[in-house]
């Protein structure tokens, strides 16, 4: 009996998001990663940072931060940026353990990140090794949301164009979010969360109140996910 239930749970598909539900009524997990480099074939994760949001509220006490023993050697240039020496990372628990913890931490929450498709491709590379599949959470990209807002609020000084404006730190400055000295994954995840927090009233201001609407332009995997969701349903 117990076993059946567990099996059933395991097989349970991604929850179908209620597209009508309010964006302020969602559970989000805002993430950032540090990588050895940007080449998906050679490089790998160095650390994952994440902080939870309940609607417009950032749950400061609910954070995730792990360093990962990399599968490819740390490149010296990223050492310079992140100040993580190979020695420091060696002691960390295995990738598999951390990825499992991360999947647990995220639960069914909507994942948010800045240029999040990069983070997700490296995370999913690891997830695939463990589960044979990828994370099925809904995804939102703050850089995409920003681009959308910018189109809608083109008259506002807040959205004046300049080169490099879409970078996380540039946007933080623009929205008067204090930037911490620690440029690690958690600090940047927290920064991204605050950015998204600022976006919420702006989204509501232009009538984007339903999560379905937000996902329709804010998600890099929009099509893919739809496909996958339907696939799951077919499998089920």
């Amino acid at each position: 009996m117990v076993i059946t239930t567990m099996r059933f749970r395991k097989k349970e598909p991604v929850p179908l998001y209620d597209n009508e539900d309010s964006i302020t009524n969602q559970n989000y997990v805002v993430i950032d990663t540090e990588l050895t480099g940007l080449d998906e074939t050679k490089d790998s994760l160095v650390s994952i940072g994440a902080v939870k949001m309940k609607g417009r509220r950032i749950e400061l006490g609910c954070t995730f931060h792990r360093l990962i023993k990399p599968s490819s050697a740390l490149k010296s240039e990223s050492i310079l940026i992140h100040r993580i020496t190979p020695n420091e990372v060696e002691k960390e628990p295995s990738v598999e353990k951390i990825i499992r913890e991360f999947i647990n931490f995220c639960g069914n929450d909507i994942i948010i990140g800045h240029f999040v498709s990069i983070d997700m491709s490296f995370i999913n590379k690891e997830v695939r090794k463990i589960t044979g599949s990828v994370m099925r959470n809904q995804i939102l990209d703050t850089s995409m949301i920003y681009q959308y807002l910018k189109k809608k609020y083109s008259q506002r000084d807040l959205f004046i164009s300049y080169p490099g404006e879409i970078e996380l730190y540039e946007l933080a400055k623009r929205f008067c979010i204090p930037i911490s000295d620690a440029h690690d994954a958690l600090a940047d995840a927290f920064l991204t969360a605050q950015l998204f927090q600022r976006f919420i009233p702006l989204l509501i201001g232009i009538g984007i109140k339903r999560i379905g609407d937000l996902l329709s332009f804010g998600s890099p995997y929009n099509k893919e996910i739809r496909y996958r969701v339907s696939g799951e349903i077919v499998n089920f």
């Binding site: 509220r57 006490g61 954070t63 931060h65 958690l186």
Partner: protein, 635 residues
């Protein structure tokens, strides 16, 4: 590695009541902390809406607390800024929110669960105090300490003289004897017991006099008096007593007032020790008593000038000792009074005795005993009604020279002349009693604007030198005049509500918008004057004789309903703002600047800002009560 919570803890460490918590407790309460952002204009809490499950601490931004369900009937009751709390009433009343809270700028808040705070209140007395009781009353002491800590670097000894009961300062070894023993017997006792003073007591053990080494030298040996004479012939009576529980500065006041160097310390009716000027000096370094003695010994204005300069140092000393503003005012008033008396004595020697009994009165802050650093001269003369025209002319001639001499002497001692010429040297303010009576009846019965202004200024008069009966007769008359003077009181009430304290400050205070003191807060007009005016109004309503704000409050305690209810708050508010001002002026003097009444709110700590805000709130509440009472006469 980056730690989000640490940022929160660092912030809370600067915010009351969290600043009183230890690191461990801070960690515990921030375990589930969250953070929200409200763009300008967001309603954070709705009046009548459900109380939230969170108490919010403003990290950055500002919000107004208001009542009313539409913009038309909105009444703003408070502003909150960085470090302020939102929604803590939920701790005590969970039925619904009592007010709207609306962000007036982009605002970031930390959210703490109500039950976490409730738990804190249960376990932490300081937090309990903060939430349960009037912030003002309970947190003043801490705010005081903070102010005093600021002056500590300049402290020499850091002794607690002004907060120590004299029981602990007094010499406990008291030897008593009967006043009927001979001088020789007394001298024997003194040399046997190796003491410098002996207290003589009657059969009931009540002290009747004291004899010191100096008395033996000066009154016996030098005069060739017989040592067989009774000791009571050379004793100095009467002795001034002090209660063992009084503080050092109170003993000090007594010594200055009575110009003595010994006080008998009495506990439960029994003599337990002697407090000498020397005891005080040991604790003191610079002694106000010594200063007063020096003033007494002067024969010329030249001699007084350098002494007058020492008064500021004494204020510094009192600040360091943690003396409350009201008591600093009392000590300084005593010293300044002595200075004025000495000047008048010197003037009398120079010009000869006055042709008529007169009384030197002071008013304004001097009259209210609230003087600290030197302020403008505010004085006048009441003289006895002359019998004839010629006598009056004679008197006027005398006082013309006399008062100008005094004015110059005061100026040389550091008291600038009054720009509005409210001085005895102005013939208008050097008048016989009958003219003063007429002045007051004109002002009170026909309250024109100028009349109200004059009466407000002069009503705080206090005699300093000469024939005090004249001042008391005038006071009797004024009190008589004040019966049933609703219209006059209505005018005074208008004065008392004219200066609204600035409740509307956010991250900073509502400050001066332009001019030399741009971005500064005027403590005198916005804080002190409203309290003085309010208390004066109540004093006039109840026709009491006291002139100092604090004494008026004490005298009104069982007479005036508002004072009965809010007297303590008002005292605390007054003491706190006064102390801030004195502290600020002391700093300015140290920096060799002209002292003024302006402070820079940025220099205040969070706690000081909260306290002064509470103080302003008290004043504003009472002004509302006055408006309510005088509704028909407020314009």
């Amino acid at each position: 590695m980056y730690n989000v919570i640490e940022e929160v803890i660092d912030f809370l460490k600067k915010v009351p009541p969290f600043q009183f918590l230890d690191e461990e407790t801070l960690k515990a309460i921030t375990k589930d902390v969250s953070m929200e952002f409200y763009p300008k204009g967001t309603t954070i809490v709705y009046q009548g809406g459900p109380v939230g499950e969170y108490i919010r601490v403003i990290k950055k931004g500002g919000a107004k607390v208001s009542l009313g369900f539409s913009e038309a009937d909105e009444v703003v009751i408070d502003y909150r800024g960085d470090g302020d709390l939102i929604g803590y009433l939920a701790l005590f009343d969970s039925s619904m929110s009592r007010a709207n809270v609306i962000a007036v700028e982009d605002t970031i808040c930390y959210l703490l669960k109500v039950d976490v705070i409730a738990e804190l209140i249960k376990n932490n007395p300081e937090v309990r105090e903060f939430f349960h009781k009037s912030f003002l009353n309970k947190f003043l002491d801490k705010a005081y300490k903070e102010i005093h800590r600021k002056s500590l670097p300049y402290s020499v000894g850091g002794n607690i003289f002004f907060t120590t009961p004299i029981e602990e300062l007094a010499t406990k070894k008291v030897v008593t004897a009967s006043p009927d023993i001979t001088i020789q017997e007394a001298a024997n006792i003194m040399s046997q017991k190796k003491i410098s003073a002996i207290v003589l007591t009657n059969l009931n053990n009540t002290p009747v006099g004291i004899v010191t080494d100096r008395d033996l030298r000066e009154k016996v040996v030098a005069k060739g008096r017989s040592v067989k004479d009774p000791i009571k012939d050379i004793m100095s009576p009467p002795l001034i007593r002090a209660d063992a529980r009084e503080y050092g500065f109170e003993a000090l006041l007594k010594m200055i007032k009575h110009n003595v160097h010994h006080l008998l310390v009495i506990k439960d009716g029994k003599l337990i020790g002697i407090l000498t000027n020397h005891d005080l000096m040991l604790f003191q370094g610079t002694s106000p008593v010594a200063l007063v003695k020096d003033i007494e010994n002067q024969q010329s204005i030249e001699g007084l000038v350098p002494l007058a300069k020492r008064v500021d140092n004494i204020i510094g000393l009192l600040l360091k000792e943690g003396v409350r503003a009201g008591d600093i005012g009392r000590v300084i008033t005593e010293i300044n009074d002595r200075l004025v008396r000495k000047i008048l004595e010197i003037a009398e020697q120079k010009f000869g005795d006055a042709p008529v009994p007169y009384c030197w009165i002071v008013f304004g802050s001097e009259g209210r005993k609230e003087q600290t650093f030197k302020t403008d001269q505010d004085n006048a003369i009441i003289y006895e009604d002359p019998v004839s025209q010629s006598e009056e002319e004679n008197i006027k001639e005398y006082f013309a020279e006399f008062t100008n001499f005094v004015k110059d002497a005061l100026l040389r001692c550091g008291f600038p002349p009054c720009p509005a010429n409210y001085m005895a040297s102005n013939p208008k303010w050097c008048q016989p009693l009958k003219t003063w009576k007429r002045n007051f009846s004109n002002w009170i019965l026909v309250p024109t604007n100028e009349a109200i202004l004059n009466s407000i200024i002069f009503l705080d008069f206090r005699p300093v030198y000469g024939d005090f009966t004249l001042a008391e007769l005038l006071r009797d008359y004024v009190i008589y005049l004040l019966r049933e003077q609703k219209v006059f009181l209505g005018h005074v009430a208008n004065m008392a509500i004219k200066n609204m304290p600035p409740l509307g400050f956010l991250r900073t205070f509502v400050v001066e918008k332009s001019g030399e003191h741009k971005d500064q807060l005027d403590l005198k007009t916005k804080g002190i004057a409203p309290i003085v005016d309010i208390v004066r109004l109540f004093a006039l309503e109840k026709r009491i004789r006291e002139t100092s704000t604090l004494e008026r409050i004490e005298a009104l305690r069982d007479k005036h309903q508002i004072i009965q209810e809010h007297g303590d708050e008002l005292i605390h508010a007054f003491e706190f703002i006064m102390l801030l001002r004195i502290q600020n002026q002391f700093e300015q003097i140290k920096e060799r600047k002209q002292p003024n009444n302006f402070i820079n709110p940025d220099k205040l700590s969070n706690l000081e800002r909260r306290t002064i805000k509470e103080a302003f709130q008290v004043v504003s509440n009472i002004q509302d009560l006055i408006i309510e009472r005088y509704k028909a006469m407020i314009w």
